[in-house]
């Protein structure tokens, strides 16, 4: 069964006939939905969430958890809301005595063998079994028989399985067979002895998307090893963001506690990543928590040492020197992990200094890893989030596929050298030694920044607001999840201030300003502004038409 197609209306389909609709009553409210909608989805449109486990919009519906049974007038038995489609004049009750009674009964069955180990369960606080039982379950359990014990199993990858907590919804099995299309999981045995398992010791090793089964597990049966016992659900703050691991631009949430990213979860966006993200992106967050950050602007002294100074002093000195050198060719190196706003500000700065060449280096993998059951999602070859943005700003790729080399000209340049974000891991301390002015803008201090006249501390994308342009040209926003260390500031703010001083133009005060300036200056970003981008992003408008969306497979 294929995954649900994106629900957002196509932007250019004016002549399509209006879809047939059906009008029915759910809990006394009249609802009109397209023909073929399920009762469960129809109820969602009026804000009624019918409890369910096995149903997931991205998977087939086996209708086996029996929790979403609703009362349909005229039907002899309660009907599963997840597969029963709406009909005209249908009268549905999701909170009648019958429907509630059924749910209470089913929930009681779930608890017969459930270990009730909520105090030590990672899912506690965001568990659908806990929530449903709390809301609608029986006050007291009647089970006095010994419980079934399956124990714990390491499924490989990042996945740990607690068999006793499993509610047998088989979402994980269906994800692996229908979406990842690598059927590693199965239900072993039958009846009350049924348990999820892999092929003996085979496990999930070598799969690329199995982390998603932890997300879709409605209870604490499948948990992440990386997150195991790290934080309680209710202590986590959720910040919408965009995955920076490749150019797909999966919408994610950063879950933080105490200013530390604890885990990354995918955020639903049918145009980009559906409900999913790859295991690489999911694991790619520790760098956001790294502590060895540059916390203050550094200015090189005459004796070769560096001195931490205030922003005003650093930028003042830098401006004075830049004005002296204005007109000398600039060579800049940027990272494709920088936001559109940061890159735009850098491009402006280079222009204000008299122009020059901007290059970027970015790692590329040999192959795309496509999610077979949702083929518009892949771990892209470009392993940086904003390669497209850099390209649209006229920056050129240099270096090898492992993001090394290609900087020979910059290294020996005797004019102005600006580096934004590139860690220069392959360069030694003599990088930029012959430059008249070498400015290093970054988060950590590499050996290759020793020769820099000025080092400016900036924030990571997890600490600032901004946008990335994904491989298909979609501009997507992210929000600050962490507080930046020390005096680090967003690059667009720092560079924008310099540009303002050099050109006399207004200095952007917010990321939205920075984007607006970018949209005005560069047609490829035109027609969009932050409010329009919302949480799910949009394609830039060029001469009135949206750039074709790769995410829809065009």
């Amino acid at each position: 069964m294929s995954t649900t197609p994106p629900t957002s209306a196509p932007t250019a389909a004016p002549s399509a006939p209006a879809p047939a609709t059906v009008t029915l009553t759910i809990d006394g409210q009249t609802v009109t939905v397209p023909k073929g909608t399920t009762i469960l989805e129809a109820a969602k449109t009026i804000g009624t969430k019918v409890p369910h486990y096995c149903y997931h919009p991205g998977l087939s519906s086996p209708a086996m958890c029996r929790l979403c049974l609703v009362e349909v007038e005229g039907a002899p038995k309660p009907q599963p809301g997840c597969v029963t489609t709406v009909a005209d004049n249908q009268v549905v009750r999701t909170v009648s005595d019958k429907a509630l009674g059924n749910r209470q009964g089913v929930l009681e069955f779930y608890l017969v063998n459930h270990p009730l180990d909520c105090p030590i369960c990672d899912m506690s606080g965001e568990c659908d079994l806990q929530n449903y039982v709390h809301a609608e379950g029986r006050e007291h359990g009647r089970g006095v028989e010994p419980k079934r014990v399956f124990g714990r199993d390491d499924f490989g990858g990042d996945v740990l399985f607690y068999g006793d907590r499993c509610v047998m919804c088989t979402r994980c099995v269906r994800f692996m067979s229908e979406v990842e299309k690598d059927e590693r999981l199965t239900v072993v045995e039958r009846g009350n002895r049924s348990v999820i398992d892999t092929f003996f010791d085979e496990g999930l090793d070598g799969t690329h998307w199995s982390g998603n089964i932890v997300d879709i597990c409605p209870v604490g049966a499948l948990v992440s090893k990386a997150f195991l016992h790290k934080a309680r659900a209710w202590d986590l703050e959720h910040t919408p963001s965009v995955c920076a691991s490749c150019s797909q631009g999966c919408n994610v949430e950063l879950h933080t506690r105490d200013n530390v990213v604890q885990r990354v979860k995918p955020r639903e966006n049918l145009d980009v990543n559906g409900w999913w993200m790859c295991d690489y992106g999911r694991a790619d967050y520790e760098w956001m928590n790294e502590g060895d950050r540059i916390e203050a602007p550094l200015v090189r002294q005459a004796d070769g040492s560096s001195k931490a100074v205030a922003w005003k002093e650093a930028l003042g000195g830098l401006l004075a020197r830049a004005k002296e050198l204005q007109g000398r060719p600039v060579k800049a190196v940027v990272s494709a992990r920088a936001s559109n706003e940061d890159l735009g500000a850098l491009a402006e700065l280079v222009g204000a200094l008299g122009g020059g060449e901007i290059v970027y280096r970015s790692p590329r993998s040999a192959e795309e890893i496509v999610l077979q059951g949702f083929p518009t999602l892949a771990r892209r070859k470009d392993l940086a989030p904003n390669v497209k943005g850099a390209e649209l700003l006229g920056m050129h790729r240099v270096g090898a596929d492992d993001a090394t080399g290609g900087l020979d000209k910059v290294r020996a340049h005797d004019g102005i050298v600006v580096v934004l974000g590139d860690a220069l891991a392959d360069q030694d301390e003599r990088f930029g030694a012959s430059a008249a002015l070498y400015v290093y803008v970054g988060t950590q201090l590499p050996v290759a920044a020793r020769a820099a006249h000025v080092v400016l501390p900036v924030t990571t994308h997890a600490e600032q607001e901004g946008t990335f342009t994904n491989h298909a040209g979609r501009v997507q926003r992210f929000w600050p999840a962490l507080t930046a260390p020390g005096m680090a500031r967003p690059a667009w703010l720092v560079l924008g201030a310099l540009v303002g001083e050099l050109s006399g133009e207004a200095v952007p005060r917010t990321a939205a300003d920075a984007y607006a300036a970018l949209a005005e200056a560069v047609p490829a970003f035109g027609g969009l502004a932050y409010p329009k981008l919302g949480a799910r992003g949009a394609l830039p408008m060029i001469s009135g038409a949206a750039v074709s969306s790769g995410a829809k497979g065009a």
Binding site: E183, R184, L185, T186, R190
Partner: protein, 221 residues
């Protein structure tokens, strides 16, 4: 593979006949004029099932699907519109050869039918007739469901355990017997029904058990 001798049903526990008045010789099954071997070739290409036997002589290390078994496997494939549908008969065939279905067998069957090993494991464990671990030369399945139970199946089961000197679900020390409880074998009018390998023994009373066990032991010698 054990030999078969006409008219002596106990000599071939792979053959499913009956005891007493229902006793079917192979000749009776086919008709009076039938002489021939068990159809290892697997029947008509598009029709008759390739019927796996549960044999006394098991070869856990045997190569799978070679020679005549290869031909039977290929015949199985012709009978279904999808390769997946051949899974149950193919597992049955593998069990006939090896006596049980182990992980290696599942892996091989998965490869042959272009399925994932995990999927094959899921299917194998759903069905009770696939032995997931080695069993004795004779798998004694005593029906203890309602009709047989009303007529004393529990005592038959206990008597089998006594004469085969084994525990429920365990294999006797001499490797001859594994005794398990079975669900209804659909011979409720002829209680107690006991299935030993491929063969049904009907109307079994505790008094019959010793004789059956002794005879089976003799076949092994």
């Amino acid at each position: 593979m054990s030999g078969r001798s006409k008219g002596a049903p106990f000599k071939n526990p792979g053959w499913a006949g009956n005891t007493g008045e229902f006793d079917l010789s192979e000749a009776q099954v086919r008709g009076d004029d039938f002489v021939g071997e068990r159809p290892k070739h697997g029947g008509h290409a598009s029709g008759a099932g390739t019927l796996p036997y549960m044999l006394a002589d098991k070869e856990p290390e045997a190569r799978l699907f070679e020679g005549e078994y290869q031909q039977r496997f290929e015949k199985i494939l012709t009978r279904y519109p999808t390769k997946r549908a051949a899974l149950l008969p193919t597992l049955g065939l593998a069990q006939e050869i090896r006596g049980h279905v182990n992980p290696e067998t599942m892996d091989r069957v998965a490869e042959l039918l272009e399925l994932s090993p995990a999927y094959v494991r899921g299917v194998t464990t759903f069905y009770t007739m696939y032995n997931k671990a080695p069993v004795g030369r004779y798998l004694v399945q005593v029906c203890t469901n309602i009709s047989c139970n009303l007529c004393g199946a529990d005592e038959v089961l206990a008597t089998f355990l006594r004469y085969t000197d084994t525990e429920l679900g365990e294999t006797s020390e001499d490797g001859n017997f594994t005794v398990i409880e079975a669900e209804c074998l659909a011979a409720c009018g002829f209680p107690t029904c006991v299935q030993i390998n491929s063969r049904y023994y009907e109307n079994v009373t505790p008094a019959d058990v010793q004789k059956i066990v002794e005879q089976l032991k003799k076949v092994g010698d």
